[in-house]
Symmetry: C2
Subunit: 523 residues, 2 copies
Amino acid sequence: MTLPEMHPQRWGDPARQTDLPEGADGLIALAFGELQPAPAVPQAPLPAPRLSAEQLRQLAAIVGAEHVLTEDDVRRLRTRGKSTPDLLKARAGDLSDAPDAVVRPATAAEIADLVAFCQQEQVALVPFGGGTSVTGGLAVAREGFAAVLSLDLIRMKALRSFDPVSMTAVLEPGLRGPEAEALLAERGLTLGHFPQSFEYATIGGFAATRSSGQSSAGYGRFDALVVGLEVVTPAGLLTLGSSPANAAGPDLRQLILGSEGTLGVITAVTVRVRKLPEEKVYEGWRWPSFQAGAAAMRRLAQAGVMPTVLRLSDEAETAINLADPAAIGSAGEGCLMIVGHEGEPELVAARRAVVTAVLTELGGNCVGEEAGAKWAHGRFDAPYLRDSLLDAGVLVETLETATFWSNVDRLYADVKQALETSLGAGTMVLCHISHVYETGCSLYFTVATKAAEEPLAQWQVAKQAASDAMIAAGATITHHHAVGTDHRPWLAEEIGPVGVGILRAVKAELDPTGVLNPGVLIP
Amino acid sequence: MTLPEMHPQRWGDPARQTDLPEGADGLIALAFGELQPAPAVPQAPLPAPRLSAEQLRQLAAIVGAEHVLTEDDVRRLRTRGKSTPDLLKARAGDLSDAPDAVVRPATAAEIADLVAFCQQEQVALVPFGGGTSVTGGLAVAREGFAAVLSLDLIRMKALRSFDPVSMTAVLEPGLRGPEAEALLAERGLTLGHFPQSFEYATIGGFAATRSSGQSSAGYGRFDALVVGLEVVTPAGLLTLGSSPANAAGPDLRQLILGSEGTLGVITAVTVRVRKLPEEKVYEGWRWPSFQAGAAAMRRLAQAGVMPTVLRLSDEAETAINLADPAAIGSAGEGCLMIVGHEGEPELVAARRAVVTAVLTELGGNCVGEEAGAKWAHGRFDAPYLRDSLLDAGVLVETLETATFWSNVDRLYADVKQALETSLGAGTMVLCHISHVYETGCSLYFTVATKAAEEPLAQWQVAKQAASDAMIAAGATITHHHAVGTDHRPWLAEEIGPVGVGILRAVKAELDPTGVLNPGVLIP
């Protein structure tokens, strides 16, 4: 399987770049007024790599000379991630904080040697999977380091083993979503993990960022799929996962999950797998209000009858209809919910009947499978639309949080108000609930406004206001985008000084010279 | 609600001590030959408390003089736990390692002051809930400490708050199982956590030991019920739980769960709660072999159609029929499975139909609700039977582990052989699967043999052999009894030196003077 590389200045596959859909221009002008198109400019050359010939020779001795890369293009593709601020910088021609070199190890042993090299030479090491971070997870602190080395896991793409009795598979970290699914599909299996970044993001990244996917209601969050981990740390190899669950002290797997490359490099992930679903059906449901739809989601979760996919757009997002950009503005009133069922036909039928009964009783109106099919068809496309909007001069970005059910209304209102207030009149704030639990749910916001002359500064003010609102409401700074460098100050508030102390102590134990992803995650 | 205190030399409520059932004597003689009855002897007086009058005054200033207790009887009831080795020592009159004093704080603030006192005076602090540890969790290392203080949480029994929308409740740590259920039942709710220690064990203990219950298949392990924690650590107050789940770094809740009082004192636990089930039905199923029954459990778990209760006895345990000691030996052939369904009647009916279809297809034979009712009736009684057997001169103890499905046969055979080999001819080894996951299950062994002259030493040899077999098989040293002091050497093997380094680093950060449960858990 050959997958396209990421565009250095945009999301995704350059061949899939799209113009705005027919008719969208007019709507955008109506919404945002006269815009200043903002096409990307060519990239400036990169500074020369800050690694000596001797250092490069040492790296070549570890991974082979053909896997030590210093060309500008290669380094640019390993620079930063894909948040709107990242794209704004890249589009302005600035990829100046590219890594000094890219190394591509093939084994955990080579990674251990690279870690030792970095400790010896005080070089920062940045594990690289899909490059899809939207929280600055690749933008490490350079101060105090002789150079920055990108550890590209692209050669570690094996399905190491599969246990058909236990229904587990050992996957290497460099497998991109479609690659992992293809290897599993050959055996009639699926992982069932489909975040919006699925086409680029990797198994190692899913684990390191505690990822959630669009089907997590049915298959489980990625942290729930993991039963074992192999991690190369500067302190040695850590192998976890003696059993599905146990009482043998704290669950250290849950300390590595979400560690974002700061404590070690994940070199294998043992995941539980499921049979490929024989049937998949996605349908649309219409609700009179966001509150009514959210209450129905809560009822499903608390009754223990969850579909495989469950998401609900608020009134604004329903009207804009991101799932079908060609039909923007034509979606009608109320709120659209997507309800998906996957599995064996009899179980799908049984679960669908129960879910339908609950949703109907609560006032939902099934609008059929067309809306569901449209959502499923466009589920990975929104980031391409963002690039087109940025081209047109619209500032667009997303952010997300989660809280307990009783706090959802307040969190929704507060974040929305923070964004609208900081970005000013004419700002569009759309929201959907993408992940649902018995005790609460996530809120995912999409924001669009007319780009100012300094869109980066414009966004930073809004991001700060929204993040402050999340923490003030007692919610989390991130439900599924992780912490990176962007959310670090708010993580400190969320877990408090004692929590920060724990993270710092583990970091000091496992990575005493601090070469792994410096400046990421840990406040 | 007034609950009985624990007997210092036996399990449970002194009023519920039972003789062996009629007819059991003969069976026991048949199984084990001539036995030497081993009644308990009176307790020796305790050493004087190693706390000065000034220190006791300081403690009284924190919690009130009436909550600083130094009487022998009180101290004995806070000594060690309820493993067979603990009982053997207690029955021999030896409760010499009792705490020097017992303090009963009422608030997290008082606990913080007690922690500060202990740091100042280098006094070991042992959080005490139900005293039901079976892994030496209360037997702290005394070396290097001026005294040992038992921190009894008996005054912290509030249901602090209940959120009917999010379906969460904030519970204090000193609530015993029945007390928590009673407070929740007043609101039509249940926690659904019923370990065998339920009648004595506490909310704080459930959290600190990562407990599992007999209904965990349906309600979830205790670690899955917890959404928030408040913890007094020597480094300050730690408050966790901003959302049901998130991607805001490692899940620090999973570091406190299972920390066994070594990192801090849990002063509040926010749990998800469920509606009290309207219907409960437990039924028995008969399988031709342990393997056939286990395969059926695996099918249920991997199909995602789990009953609320699911357990399977092997041939030996089925024949002995611990669930109904009065009928020992009359249980017939094959393996007994208990399948329980709880919830709303329609959902129970629907789930029961699916489960019944799967089990029938796989060769199971439903033997009706009587077997299920007997199990439910006697579910908390086995520890009383152990005392009667110890009286009669039978050495009896339990141990447990967990692994992935493909490793179950090996683990079962290896642990069984280790026990039979080390304890010699005439040893009975019974086993059941008590907890089932998609990827694996737990194995719970009950061992009975003729007590030797030195039963403690006799058991230690067997325990060592069984524990070595678990680790050699790649399984966990404990699925639900926790680590305590007894499992500490094997925990070191299970998580390896890097894992041990993490635990030690967190310990050093949160409890730099090491006063919290010294010698427990952390290798």
